[in-house]
């Protein structure tokens, strides 16, 4: 039987992620922000050192629709819709292999506290307990990107919908770890009429 204390493992994960981020070379991140004129939703994009990341605000109703389609129980649908969910697109834009692990990513909330990003494995553990076998849509945890590879999936952040936060991500290429951050991110509003 494999038992872990989620509070303890979360603390260790954030401690390890913090230490590894400190050890990795830091680079200034060039971020572009795009506002979708049709929906008013924001997209943040950054590309550096052969790694491209794009985060797209998703509204909770969109998230609900996705998981309803896959017959999730209402409780689990509301649970994930309560998170700040982004569509994320990650790409290897370099000419060599790169890797990333979501377990090494963190976010810094408005109170300047750093937390680990919830990984796909953690979601799947919860879903299995709820009898859900569906295992797609979320950004995979641990990926090796060969040249030209890319991936699309949801990234989930647990912050109040009206608060800003920074995403601190990490990738490795040629045995060198790099970090980047997308700052001042915000969740999609709960409803369209809350868009400014």
């Amino acid at each position: 039987m494999n038992c872990t204390n989620p509070l303890r493992s979360g603390f260790i994960a954030s401690l390890l992620a913090g230490l590894t981020l400190l050890a990795a070379p830091l680079h200034a991140t060039d971020v572009s922000v795009h506002k979708n004129l049709q929906t008013g939703l924001l997209t943040w994009t950054s590309e550096e050192k052969g790694f491209s990341i794009e985060l797209i605000q998703l509204m909770p109703d969109f998230v609900r629709a996705v998981y309803s389609k896959h017959d999730f129980p209402q409780k689990e649908i509301e649970h994930i819709a309560d998170y700040c969910v982004f569509g994320s697109i990650l790409k290897n834009t370099s000419e060599q292999q790169l890797t990333y692990k979501v377990s090494e990513w963190t976010y810094t909330d408005a109170q300047d506290k750093t937390h680990p990003v919830k990984s796909k494995s953690q979601w799947l553990q919860e879903w299995r307990k709820a009898g859900i076998t569906f295992s797609w849509t979320l950004l995979p945890d641990d990926v090796v990107f060969e040249v030209g590879d890319w991936q699309q999936g949801f990234t989930t952040i647990k912050v109040p919908r009206d608060q800003h936060f920074d995403l601190n991500y990490r990738w490795t290429q040629d045995d060198v770890a790099y970090t980047g951050s997308l700052n001042n991110l915000s969740c999609a509003p709960a409803t369209l009429d809350q868009l400014q």
């Binding site: 795009h34 969109f62 295992s135 990107f145 030209g148 590879d149 991936q151």
Partner: protein, 180 residues
């Protein structure tokens, strides 16, 4: 009658989802890079049903180069690359090559409805991996993921994320594998 209504509603929902996704997701350009495996590995065998409940065994494709694609109808890049897979399949008709698309965890009605919104319905085999067991055996982490398997049944190339499979560079690789 109720089945037809369900199909129509599902089709409309899929179209609505596609519009929403189009509005909210920026769609990256599809490349054509296939990556060679340093050490080719034997492709895991499997038996799966198609939409007409006809059973296919992977061993039936022995002696052919196979483009094995893992996909789902809700996955935007999977939807985008499918027409190029069909063109690739057609331009290699009659050769020792086939495309095989393995759908993940969806039923035949959902897949059938999706084909209703495509300009050209795929003529290659679509198999249903209803519990994702086959994708797990192939260590698929995200959709779409595609493997190119040689005539000896070894995985030789991989591609994670959408591609334009009818690109001349992909065809060159397939031609080389067919000539081995």
């Amino acid at each position: 009658m109720s089945k037809i209504i369900t199909l129509i509603i599902t089709t409309l929902c899929l179209q609505l989802t596609a519009i929403t996704l189009h509005a909210e997701w920026q769609e990256p350009e599809l490349g054509y890079q296939l990556n060679p495996l340093v050490k080719p590995v034997e492709a895991p065998g499997f038996t799966l049903m198609d939409m007409d409940e006809y059973e296919y065994d992977f061993s039936e494709y022995s002696g052919k180069v196979v483009l094995l694609n893992f996909w789902a109808t809700w996955c935007p890049p999977c939807r985008r690359e499918m027409p190029s897979m069909e063109r690739l399949h057609q331009q290699n008709a009659g050769k020792d090559f086939t495309v095989l698309a393995i759908n993940q965890m969806e039923d035949a009605d959902t897949v059938f409805s999706f084909f209703g919104v495509l300009e050209t319905r795929p003529t290659f085999n679509i198999l249903l991996d209803s519990d994702s067991k086959v994708s797990q055996r192939y260590n698929v982490r995200g959709l779409p993921t595609t493997y190119l398997i040689d005539k000896q049944g070894r995985v030789r190339y991989s591609a994670v994320g959408g591609r334009e499979f009818d690109h001349p560079e992909v065809q060159k690789i397939i031609d080389a594998l067919m000539q081995e």
